[in-house]
Structure formats: structure tokens, C-alpha cells
């Protein structure tokens, strides 16, 4: 059974229900402590903290403390500090343990991986090494994101052969690791001469040339980034944004979840790079996560992460448009995932809600066309090309960004009501009802932007979304 984390405080709940005033009276009557109004109740520390019903606050901790006997402690004496550990167990014992590998020694990993016992296999250690990326921030002062942190030990360094698996097994393994690292959905594209066109010829930001070449190792110079021809697979993954924040577009709350998802995507890509490095493979990521290597929407469509839409962005069947899409290139052979059809592209044809709500009138109100809007579009796709400079002008003039189009999209739904999945299933199979569903979406009040002030009263789960559901 799914356990839903409550995403709003009692105060917001009553506000949403339209019963805020009535509760204020009831709370005053029922509470033994005198508060003058509901705001005062909610401002009290009692209201801020949510404990499980079996846990209660007490004046003293359950452990006994004698503050008179306690002094500030020297951090170098903690036993996870290697010299302190040696001091505790003695030099001889420390040397003996170092030789057999120790808890964190690379020799220890190599020995255990060679034994290949369940739970201690090569992929298990690689997954753990990937997760440890940035565990010690001081070790990552400078690295090239394209090549990766390169701190995880390679099989060569551990004296073991590189990991070998069937493409299907590899895809499953990468998907499992990526989801653990924080990705929402994962897809794979096998590159050919067509899909290679989805890579940018030049980096959007530092203008470095992106090349494929018959080299063994990826390279980065001051002017070029070279991808080996053997790196023939692209891993595409999405990272979720918080629905409650997106609903507060175009305010900073919405910009915050965009920024957080971009940052998280970059870190997840680095984790994956370390994971694949530990398995003996190369993994090249974007030097700037705003899209410096390849077209996110293009690879998202080809990997079946979602469908292209009137937003001229990806809409996923799971989370609608409120994800960020990332991609890395690797030489680990993978089984590709196919593109999908969830009725989204067809729905966009009749809906137009995003284009109507777009404050800068950037989005297309027309049917899909081969005709591009300007030099900023890459031709070859029959799409809803957007007048992108208008969007950025609105950002500049409003002093922030926007994302209203994502907020109003009928696919931007959580899964707390049964109705959403029911309607999405109908959209996927019976497009004749698309117009009616758009009308219903308006009638039910979906897509109305929320009060940004109320965000601070929400009790959101980590990162602002419930990772066990679409909420």
C-alpha cells in the first residue's frame, strides 16, 4: 500500500476547504492554551513540528547528560579519522588490516569483487561508489563535468576485469542505479547516424566543438569535446520538480524547484559517471546542465521518456511536463527503450491551454508545422515551434522566469484523485473526448495559479514531491 506524505498543513487544508474561519473558533475552544487567533496558534512551536503520535516532546533527553563533566572534544580524536584509529588499535594491527584491505581500502573492494559473492558483486560496489560522489566535498575542488569526477577506482586500478553483461541486464542495472541516485524515469537510445544529429555541434555556453572520433578515451581540450565512436548509447533520465512549487509560477517558488531539479540532475549524472567508471566504462555528461551536449526533448522522445508537446518540450505520462530531462553518453552496451504514445501529442492539438496562458504569447496556437520560427529552431521535426525570444524577453522584463505553461498544462496533475489516471487512460485511447476533457479541466478549476505566500505553510516532503507517487 502506498503511504502518502501529507503535503499541507492543517491551516492550508482548512483554507483550501474554505473552512478556515470555522476552525479558528473550534481551535480556540478546544485548546487548553490561550491563543488569540489561528495565526498565533500556527506560529507556536507546537504547530511547527510534526511528530508521530507515539512520540512526545519532553524537557530533557532520554539519555542522561552531565554538562559539568563535558568539555569541547577534539575532532581529530574521532575514530573514523585514520590516525586516531591507528592510535586506538595499535600500529601492528592497523598495518595487518591495511594489508588485507580494511573497511574502505581499494584492495578490499578488489578482493571482494573477485570473490563475486551475492551482495558483494562488481555492480554492488560500483553502485555504492557512485552514490558516494560528493560525500567528501573537499575532494572535488575542480573537475570537468564532461569527463566526470574520476575519483572512483577503475577495475584496472583494482586489478579486476571490467564488468560484462548483456545489454538488457545492463539497462536494468543502470535504471536501478539511476533511480536510487534520484532519477524519476530512465530510457536508453542506441546512436545511429540519425540520432547523432540530436547532439549539438557546439556547446551552447562555452562554444566548444562536440565531436565523435575513433579514439579510445573521451577527451576535452580548450576548443573541443571528443566522444569516442564506441560510446554508442545515450542514457536519458528525468528528475522531478515539485508540483506545489510549479503551481506558484512565475514566482521564485517555481524557479526554486526548476533550479533544484537542474542541480540534482547534474549531481545524478556525476554519480552515474562514477558508477560506470567503477564498472570500467566511460560516461560523458553535460558541462552545463542547461543543455550543452544534446537536445533534451529529442532524446527524451527517442528514449520514450515522454512525447513532444505544444510546449515544444517533453510531456511525460507519469509527471506531465514537470520534470527536467538529462542525458549522458556511454560505451556500456544497452538495450534501447522505444518511443511512446500516451495520447499527449494528439491532446495538445485540441487543448492549447498552455498557449492561451502564455503571458508572452511565445507558444504556438497553430497546428504542428515543418516551418521553423527562427534560427533558434532546428528543422526536421513537424512541431509546435515556439517564438522563443519572446519567452526570454518576458523573463528579463519580469525579473525572473515563468513556467506558467507547465503549471496550467492539464497533464500537470498529481495522483491523489482516481480521476486523473482514468482520464489519462481515456486520452491515450479515445482522442474524441479530448475537447471535452479540456473543458472539464477548466470547469474543475485546474491550472489556476496558487498564492505564492501560502507555499510557506505547506508541509512538503523532501524535494517537494512524494517519491512514492506522482504527488
Amino acid at each position: 500500500m502506498k503511504m502518502h506524505h501529507s503535503t499541507m498543513s492543517r491551516r492550508t487544508f482548512m483554507k483550501v476547504l474554505g473552512l478556515g474561519g470555522a476552525t479558528a473558533g473550534a481551535a480556540t475552544l478546544a485548546s487548553p492554551v490561550i491563543f488569540h487567533d489561528l495565526d498565533e496558534v500556527m506560529a507556536s512551536p507546537l504547530a511547527e513540528r510534526k511528530l508521530p503520535f507515539w512520540a512526545k516532546e519532553s524537557d530533557k533527553p532520554t539519555v542522561e547528560i552531565d554538562w559539568e563533566r563535558m568539555q569541547r572534544f577534539d575532532g581529530t580524536q574521532t575514530v573514523f579519522n585514520p590516525p586516531s584509529y591507528g592510535k586506538a588499535i595499535g600500529k601492528e594491527e592497523e598495518e595487518r588490516l591495511r594489508k588485507i584491505g580494511g573497511l574502505f581500502g581499494e584492495g578490499g573492494y578488489g578482493r571482494l569483487i573477485k570473490e563475486n559473492k551475492p551482495g558483494n558483486r562488481h555492480r554492488d560496489f560500483a553502485m555504492s561508489l557512485g552514490a558516494r560522489f560528493f560525500q567528501h566535498p573537499d575532494r572535488y575542488a575542480k573537475w570537468k563535468p564532461f569527463l566526470g569526477p574520476q575519483l572512483a577506482p577503475t577495475p584496472e586500478q583494482l586489478g579486476i576485469p571490467k564488468y560484462e553483461g548483456k545489454p538488457e541486464e545492463n539497462s536494468r542495472m543502470v535504471t536501478a542505479a539511476l533511480k536510487f541516485y534520484g532519477a524519476a524515469t530512465v530510457g536508453m537510445v542506441e546512436l545511429d547516424e540519425n540520432t547523432r544529429k540530436l547532439f549539438y555541434a557546439h556547446d551552447a555556453f562555452d562554444k566548444k566543438e562536440v565531436l565523435f572520433s575513433d579514439v579510445d578515451e573521451p577527451q576535452e581540450t580548450d576548443t573541443q569535446r571528443v566522444i569516442p565512436n564506441k560510446a554508442n548509447w545515450v542514457i536519458v533520465f528525468s528528475v522531478r520538480m515539485a508540483p506545489a512549487n510549479i503551481a506558484r509560477a512565475p514566482y521564485p517558488a517555481s524557479q526554486a524547484t526548476v533550479g533544484l531539479a537542474y542541480a540534482e540532475g547534474a549531481i545524478i549524472a556525476n554519480r552515474l559517471q562514477e558508477f560506470l567508471r567503477a564498472l570500467g566504462y566511460h560516461c560523458m555528461a553535460e558541462s552545463n546542465i542547461l543543455g550543452s551536449l544534446a537536445n533534451s526533448g529529442g532524446f527524451g522522445v527517442m528514449a520514450g521518456i515522454g512525447e513532444l508537446s505544444r510546449l515544444n518540450r517533453l510531456i511525460t505520462p507519469e509527471y506531465g511536463p514537470i520534470v527536467r530531462v538529462f542525458k549522458v553518453v556511454t560505451d556500456l552496451p544497452l538495450a534501447p527503450t522505444k518511443p511512446i504514445n500516451a495520447g499527449i501529442w494528439e491532446f495538445c492539438r485540441t487543448c492549447k491551454k498552455c498557449a492561451e496562458a502564455c503571458p508572452s504569447k511565445t507558444l504556438s496556437m497553430s497546428d504542428p508545422t515543418w516551418e521553423i520560427k527562427g534560427f533558434w529552431n532546428n528543422p526536421g521535426v513537424k512541431a509546435y515551434y515556439e517564438d522563443a525570444p519572446k519567452c526570454l524577453t518576458y523573463w528579463r522584463e519580469s525579473g525572473g522566469s515563468c513556467i506558467i505553461c507547465f503549471a496550467v498544462c492539464p497533464f500537470t496533475k498529481q495522483d491523489r484523485s482516481f480521476m486523473h489516471a482514468f482520464i489519462q487512460k481515456t486520452i491515450a485511447t479515445t482522442p474524441v473526448f479530448n475537447g471535452m476533457f479540456r473543458q472539464m479541466d477548466d470547469a474543475f478549476g485546474y491550472g489556476k495559479l496558487k498564492d505564492p505566500e501560502s507555499w510557506w505553510d505547506l508541509d512538503l516532503p523532501p524535494f517537494g514531491y512524494d517519491s512514492s507517487s506522482r504527488s
Binding site: M1, H4, S6, T7, M8, T12, F13, V16, L17, G18, P243, A244, A247, K413, Q414, R416, S417, F418, M419, A443, F444, G445, Y446, K448, K450, S471
Partner: protein, 93 residues
Amino acid sequence: MWWFLFGLLLGAGILPLAFWMHARKVRTTWYEWIMGIISLILIVLLVQHFVGSIAEEESRAAWMAVLFLGIPAVVLGVLAVRLPYQRQIRNRA
């Protein structure tokens, strides 16, 4: 958890009703049962949608469902109870 308790309560409510109807020799037709079941399903869906919509901060969607699901549920529910009741009164008379 809450749905499990909801199911238990529903079952605990329906069983005594069935016993009561049997004891009072209340006769029902197949379409009255169907109306009652549909009414019950609509009420369950309404509760789920209402609570879910409030959690989604979509109060208008919550109240709209009262209109679209709640009214048909009440109409069918009233018919499912009223028709056998009236028939029994007629039979007694």
C-alpha cells in the same frame, strides 16, 4: 490503511442491513440492488476524489465532484431505499 478501515466499516454496515431486510421480509428487485451498488460506488469515488483534490490544493475540483458524483449518488441511493420501502407499505395496506 484508511481505505482498509473504510472497507471494514462499509462491510460492517452492509451486513446488518442485509440481516435486517431479511428479518423484516423486505423484498427488493434486481434493479434496486444495482442502483444501490452504483450509488455506493459513486459515494466511494466521491470521497476519494474529494480528499485527494483537497490534498492537491484543488478545492474547486473537489466541490465540482460533489455536483457530478454526489447528486447522482444521492438520487440513486434514495431510489434504492425508497422503492422497496414504498412497496412494503403498499403490501401491508
